[in-house]
């Protein structure tokens, strides 16, 4: 009988591949943002609104992580934007090896911004670093103002938090102050963008924040 000390991080392989993704993107001056949310919170709608706002100034591609369908990537492609579909085959989150393969089929030198639509889930994507420059989560008003207290992890690790579907606030009895206060407790520094992706309300503040970072990454190259 022997006691063998290992002391090894369990996500070492994922984190190593993520760092490789990051290095590839940095070499090409491409900013990558990982959008995480529950199914139906408005990831695809937010991506479409973001494309509309930024496509004139930046070259954009989308990586779609869906469990099984390619509906969202078809929608993106129909707008004339490159989209890569990752079928996770039932897995509840994306991992960095999947992103590495998706980056392999994109022409990174012809891009400024990659938006990842992570699998619809508020828990599983949290612990997986993909090599992204920013993790951004979306909560939608109908999900309720108590979600920061039920899913603290994702609020904590996000670099920005989008509250979507604010147009529906009157119908859903959403306590905005309670939401903001628990979100602040979890993540005092991330900006909170209150938007309605489908009407365009508030979207510019989010896309300005993103554009500033895309610009900075592109500039760092030259």
């Amino acid at each position: 009988m022997a006691h063998l000390d290992l002391e090894k991080p369990l996500l070492e392989r994922n984190d190593r591949l993520a760092a490789e993704n990051k290095a590839r993107l940095t070499a090409a001056g491409v900013f990558m943002v990982d959008l995480m949310a529950s199914p139906g919170a408005g990831k695809t709608s937010t991506i479409l609104a973001t494309i509309d706002a930024l496509r004139e100034n930046y070259r954009i591609a989308v990586i779609e992580g869906d469990i099984a369908s390619d509906v969202d990537s078809q929608t993106i492609k129909s707008k004339g934007i490159a989209a890569v579909q990752i079928n996770t085959g039932g897995a509840c989150h994306l991992e960095s090896d999947m992103i590495a393969r998706a980056l392999g089929v994109l022409d990174l030198d012809a891009l400024d911004l990659i938006i990842i639509e992570n699998v619809g889930n508020l828990v599983c994507p949290t612990d997986f670093y993909l090599g992204e420059d920013a993790k951004v989560m979306i909560l939608s008003v109908p999900e309720g103002d108590d979600k920061p207290l039920k899913y603290p992890g994702i609020f904590q690790i996000s670099d920005a938090i989008i509250l979507n579907k604010v147009d529906t606030a009157p119908v859903f009895d959403f306590d905005r102050e309670a939401f903001l206060s628990s979100t602040r407790g979890l993540n005092p520094t991330a900006p909170v963008f209150e938007i309605a992706a489908t009407t365009g309300q508030g979207v510019a503040i989010w896309t300005d924040w993103l554009a500033e970072r895309v610009e900075k990454k592109r500039r760092a190259l030259s």
Partner: protein
């Protein structure tokens, strides 16, 4: 259930260590997780039971240590433990803090024979 892919990594590491040291059976696996991760102990044990059948760890005991979050305040220097819901410094109220402990996901050791 992302615990399944975490547990696959546990098995990869454990079996590799067992084999390269010339042993054939794993009798104990020791893991550490920080409370700020999204790992559920129940789901981990479920994944462990699902993966262990027919492996060298089929009869192994799984020991899980959970570490409470600790942060350091970057304004007043205080070091403190906290819960998952607030990282705010209890001494000065600052929110400019650095997490020292709480995001670990580690295989510490195995016992093999």
């Amino acid at each position: 259930m992302h615990e399944m892919s975490i547990m696959e990594s546990v098995f990869d590491n454990a079996q590799e260590a067992c084999k390269s040291s010339g042993y054939t059976t794993i009798t104990r696996i020791e893991l550490t997780f920080g409370e700020m991760t999204e790992i559920s102990e129940d789901s981990l044990r479920f994944a462990f039971d699902a993966l262990k059948e027919g492996s060298p760890a089929a009869g192994a005991e799984l020991a899980i240590t959970v570490l409470p979050p600790r942060s350091q305040c970057l304004e007043c220097g205080a070091e403190y433990e906290h819960d998952r819901f607030s990282v705010r410094c209890p001494e000065c109220g600052s929110v400019i803090t650095n997490l020292l402990q709480g995001r670990e996901m580690r295989i510490d050791a195995i016992e093999a024979q």
